[in-house]
Symmetry: C2
Subunit: 295 residues, 2 copies
């Protein structure tokens, strides 16, 4: 399947798939907020990464469905909590008012808590994974929980908040983003590989390096887009990083040098895929897409 | 072991046990907030319930350690998020300033997120449970996630918030508390039984009824203590329910009738334990303790 078909296909199918695991909204504000936070036209980068990695090992992608749902729920919860007034205080997300603007702060906090919990509940049902052995299911839970928690995503967000108004070293900035966005991206790739139950330790090692490089390339591009992107295409305010006194790759290095760094990580990510030959065509195209994206 | 020795023993040992699974605090604000939220002299009711239920099936309690840690982390995260300004806006918890008062709102939200995630990470390591088969571990994760999420605890808190200023029917009030506090209490009991890998479906059914009755007895006593308890002994403000226009068993039924209801649920809980004979002595004593508690 050509890359753009795969991308749009995944983006088109995810809302229906996510909705299948969400509680019915009805008159329930909590469930409505959970739907609102997930069914809002996200890029679905993490599900796509997991699916494309599974392709490397000729895995039936159906086995991955509950995994990509769980990962996307965790990603959506993290955006929901990051947007809160006490955190980044963002009013808009993907061209729409943020969850707390629509449902109030309390419901937004609870919807995030509920999405995070639901992710683990989905993964705990062995009947969702008829072809996986239970050790693999537990390993997938472990990889996702580690990446999402106080050694990964939550740690990254905590460092990010404490760094406001400060200038980080490039090394610390990279460390922060490895945790904040890189960890869940790496977990998506690792889960894609684990689901095939065929990946070697060397495969997993190289895929981890790939995902880390890709995550940094993604983040630098994010910083560049905040500095010089198109507000209409992005669906959110630009110039927020300077306004919020965030230390970013752009504020630290300047636009031109930041672009060079993005290119370096893009190239590194591509190199990590060499061992997988032609099977990695989709992952290669996704890597280029992330490097060149305008949204 | 006499009941009060068991109670104080559990309360004395839990901080050390919880700390073993927490990230080292050092200069890390997030980790410090996680410690603060967990190591604050809680009643440790849920761990105690799981341990005492495990006793019914002559289970080596060591196998339960990671489970009671995970459950207590989830309980502590729920208190932490419930105390937030956007939720119940409480300044004091167990005689000390609430987490957001000490660490700020953003760190308090993140510490809650991190505790919830860490709970599932702990449960995903099969090496933490050398004597349990992997189906049982997954079942334990499932029971806890279901109880903590949008069909359980989070749903209960959401109903609670939306009910402020309104009068619920007794039936709806009971439904709310079944979700808000009852679900995690029932999960603690169920996990205690599951860890022995010997409980029958009938055992699990009666234990579920026991836990639901105990949870309601606990909650009614909580409402009574808020209305007429001693602030110094409780370590928090009393009269909060009336101030926050909460519908409680006391506001709905009056003190006297609420006490009768608490007694009814206490008696129901005791009856559910009949099938376990003398082995349930500890659970019986705990049930009486919860009914008679002043804190």
């Amino acid at each position: 399947m050509p890359f753009f078909t795969q991308l749009t296909d995944c983006q088109a199918k995810m809302p229906q798939l996510l909705a299948r695991y969400l509680p019915l909204p009805g008159h329930n504000e909590l469930a409505k907020a959970m739907h609102y936070a997930c069914l809002n036209g996200g890029k679905r980068l993490r599900p796509l990464l997991a699916l494309m990695t599974a392709e490397l090992f000729e895995t039936d992608v159906a086995v991955l469905e509950p995994v990509i749902v769980a990962i996307e729920f965790i990603h959506c919860y993290s955006l929901l909590h990051d947007d809160l007034p006490a955190m980044d205080n963002d009013d808009m997300r993907r061209g729409k008012p943020t969850c707390h603007k629509v449902f109030g702060e309390a419901t937004a906090i609870l919807a995030g808590d509920a999405l995070l919990t639901l992710a683990f509940e989905i993964l705990s049902h062995p009947e969702h994974f008829p072809t996986l052995d239970k050790s693999t299911i537990l390993k997938i839970i472990q990889v996702i929980a580690y990446a999402a928690g106080c050694q990964g995503m939550v740690k990254g967000q905590s460092i990010d908040l404490s760094a406001e108004g400060k200038t980080l070293s490039l090394e610390n900035l990279i460390e922060m983003h490895r945790a904040k966005t890189g960890a869940l991206i790496a977990a998506s790739v690792q889960c894609g590989a684990l689901a095939g139950q065929k990946a070697t330790q060397d495969d997993l090692y190289e895929l981890h390096n790939f995902a880390e490089a890709l995550g940094l390339c993604f983040q630098i591009q994010d910083d560049i887009l905040d500095a010089e992107g198109n507000k209409e295409i992005l669906g959110k305010q630009t110039g927020q990083d300077v306004k919020n006194q965030k230390c970013t790759f752009v504020t630290l290095l300047g636009n031109l040098e930041a672009k060079k760094h993005a290119k370096t990580w893009h190239d590194k990510a591509q190199t990590c895929l060499d061992r997988f030959g032609d099977k990695a065509a989709s992952l290669r195209a996704l890597t280029t897409y992330i490097f060149e994206r305008a949204t």
